[in-house]
Subunit: 293 residues, 2 copies
């Protein structure tokens, strides 16, 4: 493995036209590659607006298979630009069986594997339990030509267990393709604390595990066709180093962010703050219970 | 359980005289009680300087039994002031068997139980593996008259597993008595990032679990009797609410901090960001392994 590699985050807004979204995401991958990225990640469900704002069975039509339109487009784009790509998709696995997934494609165009979102949220305007069956592939890491990476998706970001298990599989960086935003009526009172909590929990995964964390959010104010306040996606994509220091960060517009994953820095942090050495693996069995009452 | 209760943190410096440290800690508990605290916590190993800066078998003389001088002094102080107290002690359990522990004493003076530090560090000037056998009581919560609390100790603060297990036992607040400081030669270059990582990981436990976190550090520049640069304990004790917002915070001098644990706020945060609902307890078994290679 090279002593370092560069990751690229494509922070973008989505239109209602899947083909246009694919085209713009391909352009983003190309831009990230030009800026030096070797592994590029798109936002969660990059191919459409965030349709989970409502429960509508017709929207399952947005799903695609693996292989399918996204993997075809990005196998080609990855090979053309010579970069690995993490492609989040709305996966149709079988009739009536859907996942919120991410495909990892290497810089050769080869499909390295699939991650299926393990933790599925369900909150007002984030009705994901209606659409997505929880993942059954567990937490995973993938060997790209550039380096070993892990991917999780959005709501997974609130769970230290997912980060830990992916890091224990040897990932040097955890990608979190994301679709998180403000309810407009909450933004003034709670917006700052919500985004700060989101940054904090993900920076903490970097610290606890001595890994890089790369978070890719969407941007834009998306309102559903039937009207309503919609969601203001807050962008703010970032990369944190293994000590939780934010080394690259986007604002709230469309933007490509590139940052270095430095394996020597990881080695240094883990030598000096050797958390992995002292885990009490004999005493964690309660983690697999719902509540210890 | 009352709908809210107040916690007090006694941030203090330690002298080489154990009796004087006990006396000053008792005064701190009294001050915290006067300021409205109902559960008060002292810093880790409050009864002596941080002796783990060197390995010296003679220093086992600093240890005490349970019951012993600390529990006697604080059973009385707790009852006198009408507050529960978390008393971190250097515990002598048997000849040649020592722990880094915390006793929880209720406001009646009753000993509710003991926690023994589970994760033991060992780094230059923090030679704890020489002194302390890792805890064998697991992660615990205790019902004080004021509310249900958990306690962990210092190095435990870097482990999401310890926070999770204590929260799953129903604690409303996690106390972290602590002795963390800067190596003077590292302070200028790394000091800010070190303290920020420490704050971040502990705020993340509040967020991940929807609990309050109360961290009590010591202050003062302690140099060992044989000379050397010593350690500058950075104080900065704080309380974070269930969304990771710091609601009370000390500087770098001696100080008593009081903050409210509001169970209605916990309920509100956990309803709106229902992380406990969606844990994938079927998929966490790797947590109990050292590395997934």
């Amino acid at each position: 493995m090279a002593p370092s590699f560069r990751v690229g985050l494509v922070q973008m807004a989505m239109s209602t036209d899947p083909a246009a979204n694919v085209e713009r995401a391909v352009a983003g991958v190309r831009d990230a590659a030009k800026a030096g990225a070797q592994v590029v990640c798109l936002p969660e469900l990059y191919r459409s607006p965030y349709f989970c704002q409502r429960e509508d069975a017709a929207l399952f039509d947005l799903a695609e298979t693996v292989p399918g339109p996204s993997t075809e487009a990005f196998a080609r784009a990855a090979k053309d630009s010579g970069v690995a790509v993490v492609v989040p998709i709305f996966e149709k696995r079988a009739t009536g069986l859907y996942h919120n997934s991410a495909v990892v494609i290497d810089s050769t165009g080869e499909l390295l594997g699939l991650y299926r979102k393990m933790h599925i949220p369900d909150d007002p305007a984030f009705y994901e339990k209606f659409y997505f069956t929880p993942g059954d592939l567990g937490f995973r890491a993938f060997d790209t030509k550039a380096g070993r990476i892990g991917t999780l998706i959005c709501w997974d970001q609130w769970y230290p267990e997912g980060a830990r298990l992916t890091a224990l599989k040897g990932a040097a960086v955890l990608f979190y393709p994301t679709a998180i935003g403000w309810h407009p009526h909450e933004k003034e009172q709670h917006g700052t604390n919500q985004r700060e909590a989101w940054r904090t929990i993900q920076r903490s995964h970097a610290i606890a595990n001595g890994v890089y964390v790369a978070v890719v959010n969407r941007v834009g104010h998306e309102t559903p066709p039937e009207g309503g306040p919609g969601l203001e996606f807050w962008g703010s994509s970032f990369v944190a180093d293994p000590f939780g220091v934010v080394i690259a960060e986007a604002g709230q517009g469309e933007q490509v962010v590139v940052a270095e994953v430095d394996l020597a820095r990881m080695e240094d942090v883990r030598r000096n703050w050797p958390f992995l050495r002292d885990r009490r693996i004999d005493a964690y069995s309660g983690i697999e219970r719902r509540f210890l009452d």
